[in-house]
C-alpha cells in the first residue's frame, strides 16, 4: 500500500451473544489515507456488521469476539462509549440506506444539522454558514427554506443528500456508507454517486462503501473486498477483481450478472444453491457446496487467506492458479 494507513481491521470476529453463532469470521482489511474501499456481498455475508463494529454500533445481542480495529493509533474496540462518541460523526461518519430513519422527523433540518456541530465542540457565528455551505454543496435548492423544513418535505434523493451533508459537516477522515443508494432510482443514484465521488476528492477523504451491487462500486472505489458467509473471500483492486477474479464465487457472481449493453443475449450462468449461513460453515470453505471447482479438501478444511502484493484470496483452487 502506498498511502499511509488510516484504518486497519485485523482478525475481526463477530458472534451472537446467546447461543453463540459466528456471523463474521477472521475479517482483515486496511483502508489507506484517501483510499476508497468497497465491500461487496449478499445479505447475511457480514458486510454491514463488520462496518457497524468499527463505530461500536452493533445491534443488541451481537458482539465482537476477537480482533482489533485500529484507527490511526487507537484500537476502537477498547474505547468506552464516551470516547467513541467523540470519534463518531467527527472523525468517522456514516450514511445509511434509509435516510428517513436516520433523520429526526420532528426537528427542522437547520436545527438537526447544527446539533451535530454543537455536540462536537460548540456552535459559533460561522456554524450557520457552515451548514448552509454544505447543503448547497450537496445540491439542496433554496437552502434557507430547507433549513426551516422537516425531513418529510423532501424526496428520498434529497434526504440522502441531506444525510451526506450531515456526515461531511465535521470533515471526517473516513466515511462509511452502507448501501446509501439502494433505495433510490437509477438516475438519482447516479447523482448521489457523482456527489460523493466529488466530495471525497475535494477532501481527500477515505471511504468504506458497502453494497450488493458490483456495478455501483465499479467506478467509485479503488479496492474491493468480496465477502461470503462471514469471511472476506477475495480482495484486490477493482481492475483485478472484475477482470481477473480468482475466487470461484467472485467469478460466478460476475458471470451471473446480465449486462445492460451489447447485441447478444447469452443465457446467464447461475450459481446453484443458496448462500451458506456463516455459523454453519465450520471446518470447510463456505462456498464449497455451490462451487464447481470444489474437491474433498474444500469440505473439510478452511482455506487460508493467501496474500500476494495488494490482493488476497481464500481458496484452495483459485482461478488462474496461486
Amino acid at each position: 500500500m502506498t498511502q499511509p494507513l488510516l484504518l486497519s481491521v485485523k482478525d475481526l470476529g463477530i458472534s451472537t451473544v446467546q447461543d453463540p453463532r459466528t456471523l463474521v469470521n477472521q475479517v482483515s482489511f486496511d483502508i489507506g489515507l484517501g483510499e476508497a474501499v468497497g465491500v461487496v456481498g449478499e445479505s447475511g455475508s457480514g458486510k454491514t456488521l463488520s462496518a457497524l463494529s468499527i463505530l461500536g454500533l452493533l445491534p443488541r445481542g451481537v458482539e465482537v469476539v476477537s480482533g482489533s480495529v485500529t484507527f490511526k493509533d487507537k484500537n476502537l474496540l477498547t474505547l468506552n462509549n464516551e470516547e467513541l462518541r467523540k470519534i463518531r460523526g467527527n472523525e468517522i461518519a456514516m450514511i445509511y440506506q434509509d435516510p428517513m430513519t436516520a433523520l429526526n422527523p420532528v426537528m427542522k433540518l437547520g436545527k438537526q444539522l447544527l446539533e451535530v456541530i454543537a455536540s462536537h465542540g460548540g456552535i459559533n457565528e460561522s456554524s450557520q454558514n457552515q451548514v448552509r455551505a454544505l447543503l448547497s454543496e450537496v445540491g439542496i435548492p433554496d437552502v434557507n427554506r430547507a433549513m426551516e423544513s422537516y425531513p418529510h418535505e423532501f424526496s428520498g434523493g434529497m434526504r440522502q443528500r441531506i444525510m451526506i451533508a450531515m456526515a461531511l459537516l465535521l470533515s471526517p477522515q473516513l466515511l462509511i456508507a452502507d448501501e446509501p443508494t439502494t433505495a433510490l432510482d437509477v438516475t438519482i443514484q447516479q447523482q448521489i454517486l457523482a456527489l460523493v465521488s466529488e466530495a471525497r476528492k475535494k477532501r481527500n477523504m477515505s471511504m468504506l462503501w458497502i453494497t450488493h451491487d458490483l456495478g455501483v462500486v465499479a467506478n467509485l472505489v479503488d479496492r474491493l473486498n468480496v465477502m461470503y458467509a462471514g469471511r472476506i473471500v477475495e480482495s484486490g483492486t477493482v481492475e483485478e477483481i472484475f477482470r481477473k477474479p480468482k475466487h470461484p464465487y467472485t467469478a460466478g457472481l460476475l458471470s451471473s450478472l446480465p449486462t445492460s449493453t451489447g447485441t447478444n443475449r447469452e443465457r446467464l450462468t447461475s450459481i446453484s444453491g443458496v448462500p451458506e449461513k456463516p455459523w454453519l460453515v465450520g471446518n470447510s470453505c463456505g462456498f464449497a457446496a455451490r462451487c464447481s471447482r470444489a474437491q474433498a479438501r474444500c469440505h473439510s478444511e478452511v482455506p487460508p487467506t493467501v496474500i500476494t502484493d495488494n490482493s488476497s484470496v481464500a481458496c484452495f483452487f483459485p482461478l488462474g492458479g496461486n
Binding site: S155, Q190, A218, E239, S270, I271
Partner: protein, 315 residues
C-alpha cells in the same frame, strides 16, 4: 395481437387535498401472444399501476384493456365459469406475498381448488407437478414460507401464479428483492417456463439489464406515459428519447470499471410531482435537448423507424 391496451388513463383522487394524481396518461400497447414486454421506468412512472390494471385488480378511468378481444375484467370474471384465470401477477416481495402461517402445499392447492381446475383427488398430484415445474423439491410442500430461502419463496409465488393456468403473467420486479447470486436462476426459470408453456409476459423492472435479458419489446415510461417503445435491440442499443438515453447511461454497469468520469451526472433534478404535471413534454424540465417548444407542445409517440416509437420532437 393478444393484449391490447388502448388509450388507458388512470387517475387517483387524493381526498384530503382534493387533488388528482395522473398515474397513467394515454397508454397504448399491443402485445402479441407468446412475446415478452419489458416495462422500465423510475418510481412513480406508473409501471405498477399498469400492472394492476392489466391484471384487473383495478379498472382504468378511461380506455380499454383486452386479451384476445375480451375486456380484461370480463375475462377474469368469466374465468370462474371457464375454470381459468387468464392473467396472473407475481409480486416483488416473496416475503409479504405468501401467508406465513400457510404451508407451501396448501398455498398452491388453494388456487387450484378456488378455480376448481382439477378433480379433488388430483389436487395433490397437480401441486407436485407445479413444484417440479418451478424446480422445487416435492418435500417443500409441508414447509412454511420462513423455512425457505428468498429464491425458493419467489419460485413458490411463480408456482401459485401458474396454478391458475394463466396465459399472461405480469411480473412486477420479480427478482429485485432477491440476492444477486440467485437472480440469474430465477430469470432462467422464467425463460424456461415461457418456452415450455407458451406464456406471454409483462416484465416490469427498474433494472434495464434484466429488461434487456428477457424482453422482446420494451416500453420506457416517464410520468404516466410511454416515451419510447420498440424491440429490445431498438430501445436499448439505439435509444432515441433523451430520457431512455439518460436511463441507460445511469445504469451501473459492471463491465465498465475504474472510470470515475462515468459517474458524471446524466440528469439534473428529480421526477416532477404527478399532481401538477409540467406543461408540454413532461420530461422537458430535466431534458438536455429541450427547446422552448418542448414546454408548450405535449408529445405523443411517433414512428421514427419500423415499429420504433418515440415521444420526442428532437428525436
Amino acid at each position: 395481437m393478444s393484449l391490447e391496451i388502448k388509450d388507458v388513463e388512470k387517475l387517483y383522487k387524493i381526498v384530503s387535498t382534493d387533488t388528482v394524481i395522473h398515474a397513467l396518461n394515454g397508454i397504448d400497447i399491443s402485445l402479441p401472444a407468446g412475446k415478452t414486454l419489458g416495462i422500465v421506468g423510475e418510481s412513480g412512472c406508473g409501471k405498477s399501476t399498469l400492472a394492476r390494471l392489466v391484471t384487473g385488480l383495478e379498472a382504468p378511468y378511461q380506455g380499454s384493456i383486452t386479451w384476445k378481444g375480451l375486456p380484461i375484467h370480463d375475462v377474469n370474471k368469466g374465468s370462474f365459469s371457464t375454470k381459468k384465470s387468464v392473467v396472473q401477477l407475481v409480486f416483488q416481495d416473496p416475503y409479504s406475498s405468501l401467508n406465513p402461517r400457510q404451508r407451501i402445499g396448501d398455498a398452491i392447492s388453494e388456487i387450484i381448488t378456488v378455480h376448481n381446475l382439477v378433480e379433488k383427488n388430483m389436487v395433490e398430484t397437480r401441486v407436485s407437478e407445479l413444484l417440479s415445474l418451478v424446480g422445487l423439491a416435492d418435500d417443500l410442500k409441508n414447509r412454511y414460507p420462513h423455512q425457505l430461502s428468498g429464491g425458493q419463496r419467489q419460485r413458490v409465488s411463480i408456482a401459485r401464479a401458474l396454478a391458475a393456468e394463466p396465459s399472461l403473467l405480469v411480473l412486477d420486479e420479480p427478482v429485485s428483492a432477491l440476492d444477486v447470486s440467485v437472480r440469474a436462476e430465477v430469470m432462467n426459470l422464467l425463460l424456461d417456463l415461457r418456452a415450455k408453456l407458451g406464456l406471454t409476459y409483462i416484465f416490469i423492472s427498474h433494472d434495464l439489464a434484466m429488461i434487456r435479458y428477457i424482453s422482446d419489446l420494451v416500453a420506457v415510461m416517464y410520468l404516466g406515459k410511454i416515451v419510447e417503445f420498440g424491440s429490445w435491440e431498438q430501445v436499448i442499443n439505439d435509444p432515441q428519447h433523451p430520457y431512455t438515453q439518460a436511463l441507460i447511461q445511469a445504469m451501473p454497469d459492471h463491465t465498465v470499471i475504474g472510470n470515475p468520469e462515468s459517474l458524471a451526472k446524466t440528469l439534473e433534478g428529480e421526477v416532477p410531482d404527478p399532481v401538477n404535471l409540467p406543461t408540454g413534454c413532461a420530461f422537458h424540465l430535466r431534458c438536455v435537448k429541450a427547446t422552448p417548444a418542448c414546454a408548450v407542445e405535449p408529445q405523443s409517440l411517433r414512428e421514427i423507424s419500423s415499429n420504433h416509437l418515440v415521444a420526442c420532437m428532437e428525436a
